[in-house]
């Protein structure tokens, strides 16, 4: 109930610093941080355990091990047998899963609130006591290879994206795919996964985020009970790896069975490191909203609807990450149009922003969407836990989320124009093209149906 009355006040003040202490935070002696956001709207809770370890921490020849370990985390401990973890979550009426990114690995359970203690006990147990059994590994690595076939090998657009990053980054580990190269998966052993676990899965490399109908003091006490007995350990030094400046356009083509070409233009772009001092990442985010924030935003209006040069077009830009940033323009040309024509049209849109800037109306509209989005995001407990977890994963404090929104609200048209001029720079551009091939291109099998 409290939320309802608090929110309009917050919004009216332009999302200024919240007076409320919610979310609450504590740090255990072993270095594990626990962040609790109380939200009493429904009798459910979410626990997420985030490890500051992702594919970016892997080395050549062992790509994919962060994700493989994520799979192995469900294979049991001395006190929780193989397959037992999922069984217990299911018995509690819960849903659970995990995900691995470049920057982090995270595990979650959504449960009726009274089941939270059991979930905390389970997560604490596998934080330090995982069995990495060779037999289980031998089965699970096959599952991961199937996952790679499904997500990447048979998906032309994912394949293009994988190849593009391998070209755009040469020194930085972002060049490797999260799921790993197939050959690395084929040669990976249980010992590799075990070494990864032993090195990185310690409380001082993790944090727990809980949202839902909970009392933060009770959650802190549970954390003390289940997580505090785990011992912390010093982590290996992680050396910063800086991608050398790109000095000229790079191009990559991927041939795959498909009907339509896909064009991706990826520009090296800045990442938010200092919430107060940085300004460009905010300006680029507003630019992305103006170009692609709704159905009549510039890209869709001009390229899809008016000129019909594209079937679809969009922008991806995430201004938070542990590593370097990229801003991607992507699209599919209409029938009868080439990828080259689409590229020229995208460049013309960018050139127009560089030359004439953006209107006050466009900026205002993007900000209105941003404000509404802050209300809508509260509709999902899981989404709120994700927001806190992701921002912490890149080394920014979740307490500054509102401040980041405030900074976005302050972006000016002049700043948007300035970043458009600075970052859409051909020397920092990587172009990826999906060159569609007929299904029967190799004439090895006719694409006809046979019925029995």
């Amino acid at each position: 109930m409290r939320l309802k009355y608090l929110l309009p006040v917050l919004l009216a003040a332009g999302l200024s610093t919240a007076a409320s202490a919610n979310p609450y935070e504590t740090t255990l002696k072993n270095g594990l941080r626990v962040i609790v956001k109380e939200d009493r709207r429904a009798p459910t809770a979410v626990q997420m355990v985030w490890y500051r370890i992702g594919s970016t921490d892997e080395v050549d020849g062992a790509s994919g091990v962060a994700h493989v370990l994520e799979h192995m985390m469900f294979k049991g401990t001395p006190s929780v047998g193989t397959g037992e973890f999922n069984k217990r979550v299911a018995a509690a009426g819960g849903r659970d899963n995990a995900f691995t990114s470049r920057d982090y690995t995270a595990y979650f359970q959504q449960v009726p609130k009274e089941k939270l203690p059991e979930m905390m006990q389970l997560e604490a147990d596998r934080m330090r006591h995982l069995n990495v059994d060779a037999k289980e590994f031998a089965q699970e690595i096959k599952v991961v290879m199937e996952e790679r076939r499904m997500r990447t090998d048979d998906n032309p657009q994912s394949k293009l994206f994988e190849q593009m990053n391998a070209v755009a980054f040469q020194a930085h580990p972002y060049r490797r795919p999260i799921i790993g190269w197939m050959n690395d998966l084929e040669t990976m052993t249980a010992a590799d996964a075990k070494a990864w676990y032993d090195t990185w899965y310690v409380p001082n490399n993790a944090y727990v985020v809980v949202t839902g109908d909970v009392d933060h003091k009770e959650v802190f006490a549970l954390a003390e009970k289940y997580y505090a007995p785990l011992e912390g350990r010093a982590l290996p030094l992680r050396k910063q790896q800086i991608e050398p400046a790109q000095e000229g356009t790079r191009k990559v083509t991927v041939k795959a069975p498909a009907e339509l070409p896909v064009l991706i233009m990826g520009y090296k772009a800045p990442i938010l490191r200092d919430i107060e001092k940085d300004s460009e990442p905010y300006a680029l985010e507003m630019l992305a909203a103006i170009l692609d924030g709704h159905d009549a935003a510039r890209f869709n209006k001009k390229l899809v609807r008016e000129d019909k040069v594209a079937l679809s077009v969009g922008i991806d830009y995430d201004n938070t990450a542990r590593g370097p940033g990229m801003l991607y323009l992507h699209g599919t040309p209409s029938e009868g149009k080439t990828a080259g024509e689409l590229e020229a049209a995208l460049r013309a849109e960018i050139a127009q922003v560089q030359k004439d800037g953006v209107s006050a109306q466009e900026l205002k509209r993007a900000k209105a969407q941003l404000v509404a989005g802050q209300v809508y995001k509260l509709d999902s407990m899981f989404g709120q836990a994700m927001e806190i977890g992701q921002i912490e994963a890149v080394g920014l404090p979740y307490k500054k989320i509102d401040r980041m929104l405030e900074k976005l609200q302050k972006v000016t048209a002049a700043e948007v124009q300035a970043v458009a001029k600075k970052y859409f720079n051909d020397d920092a551009l990587t172009i990826g093209l999906l060159d569609p091939q007929p299904l029967d291109g190799k004439a090895r099998r006719p694409a006809v149906a046979t019925r029995h």
Binding site: K4, L7, P8, R41, A42, T44, G83, N86, K87, A90, A92, G93, G94, R95, Q110, V111, P112, K113, E140, K142, V143, E146, R149, M150, D154, P257, E259, L260, H294, D295, A296, A297, K301, R305, L311, T332, E335, K364, R365, A368, Q369, A372, G373, V375, Y376, L378, D379, S380, M381, L439, D440, G441, R444, R445, A447, V448, A449, T450, R451, H452
Partner: protein
């Protein structure tokens, strides 16, 4: 007085742990069915208008008409062109969403509930529902985009498998028909106007509102939506689908993985067999990581990343479906395992332990089905559209608890007969 009563009611509800959600229902003066859940926690409002106007009503040879009617509905209406609609929605921070599936065409608005935001957004929603332009040039553009998308889909193993699966399951029913480049080419503006006139009417509509709104306000908004629609008549359904004969369709494709679907038309919405099927299927392939299919296909053999079974009840008998993807050379082995698991389950049903585990999860997870406005909306809209009992959610846990092993075996023997099973593979060696 009304306030006091509501407060007392809320207290009562919070004391009965099994209670679901209070869905208020009435018929608007103009004849639309209305479903309302008051939720004051967040300053936002969801309004969804559902019409029985899905692809099941596509005339023969014009597959894709329902989808095209829905997708062009908000591309120009009344005095607003497509740009004005999108810009004005964005100006208030509102979103317009929805789409058409086999049964239903939906238009869904999410907006802030403050009057100065809500009213302009509702104005646009009413415009879109009452006075779509179906501009000829925009239709041609959208046809071209749809055709390109269909051609692309015909290169993807999962899409190819899905299309083949539905046409094999429903050889003589509109559920099995699908849009093709040819059927989209055949669509004209007159077709859209006629389809809209026939199906987008008050008698054929259910309106669901969830959010920061009083009953009185909800009544007013619902009627303002319904009053602008023609009174019309409810849609009439085609004859029920027949059970197909066992068949195997094998399609070639150069992909590294085979896609496999096994299934048949099984059950319609509101049928009492649903609960035994739901509870039984949890053990078979619905319970995620703890299902038999997952254990046998993924955990024991490493054949697939994803393997599942589910029932999708629809207005008329919707499918029971098993799906997986596996390295093309081991597709035959994977299918064999699937058949062994299915046959074993059909013969003996779940064990007592499995039944208890299924019930524990399905009843225990009930609060997770209702913990956001979006989920409340989805539930209330489905209850409204399919005419399920208003206390469907209140009864849910008790109905799950009441299921016995024998109920499951009988329901499966009625609904999942091996002689009716369709199998489709794409890219299997």
């Amino acid at each position: 007085m009304k306030r006091l009563l509501t407060a007392a009611f809320v207290l009562l509800i919070s004391q009965t742990a099994l209670a679901g959600v209070k869905i208020e229902h009435w018929v608007s003066p103009s004849g639309a069915r209305v479903y309302f859940v008051e939720s004051r926690v967040l300053p936002m409002l969801d309004v969804q208008v559902d019409f029985a106007a899905g692809s099941v009503f596509d005339p023969e040879g014009k597959s894709g008409l329902a989808g095209m009617t829905r997708s062009t509905l908000d591309l120009g209406a009344g005095k607003l062109d497509e740009t004005a609609i999108a810009e004005q929605m964005a100006d208030t921070g509102a979103n317009l969403a929805g789409g058409a599936d086999s049964d239903r065409a939906s238009v869904a608005l999410r907006t802030l509930s403050a009057k100065d935001k809500r009213e302009p957004a509702l104005d646009i929603l009413r415009n879109v529902l009452h006075a779509p332009r179906f501009d000829a040039a925009i239709l041609e553009r959208e046809k071209a985009r749809t055709i390109a998308g269909l051609k692309e889909a015909l290169t993807r193993p999962d899409s190819i498998a899905g299309k083949a699966f539905w046409s094999a399951m429903y050889p003589n029913h509109p559920y099995g028909r699908q849009a093709t480049p040819e059927s989209i080419t055949a669509l004209g503006r007159d077709d859209l106007i006629a389809f809209h006139a026939r199906y987008y009417n008050a008698a054929n509509a259910s309106i669901t509102l969830v959010g920061d709104l009083s009953r009185q306000e909800a009544e007013k908004i619902a009627e303002s939506i319904a009053a602008g629609l023609p009174k019309g008549e409810a849609a009439t359904l085609p004859a029920a689908p027949e059970k197909p004969k066992w068949s195997l369709t094998q399609l070639t494709h150069p992909a590294t993985q085979a896609h496999v679907y096994v299934g048949l038309p099984a059950i319609e919405r509101g049928n009492p067999d649903f609960f035994p099927l739901l509870v039984g299927n949890y053990t078979l392939g619905g319970g995620g990581f703890v299902s038999r299919l997952m254990k046998e296909v993924r955990d024991k053999r490493g054949y697939a990343y994803s393997v599942y079974s589910h029932f999708s009840p629809m207005r008329q008998a919707g499918p029971f479906q098993i799906g997986l993807q596996t390295k093309r050379s081991q597709a035959k082995d994977a299918i064999k395992v699937v058949r062994e698991v299915l046959d074993g389950f059909l013969k003996d049903g779940p064990s007592d332990d499995e039944l208890s585990a299924a019930k524990a999860n399905l009843t225990g997870s009930f609060p997770l089905r209702l913990d956001s406005n979006k989920k409340l909306l989805d539930n209330a809209a489905a209850i409204g559209f399919y005419g399920l009992p208003l206390d469907y959610l209140d009864q849910y846990q008790a109905k799950v608890e009441a299921v016995t092993v024998n109920d499951i075996k009988q329901a499966f023997s009625r609904r999942v007969r091996p002689e009716n099973l369709i199998t489709v593979t794409v890219a299997a060696d």
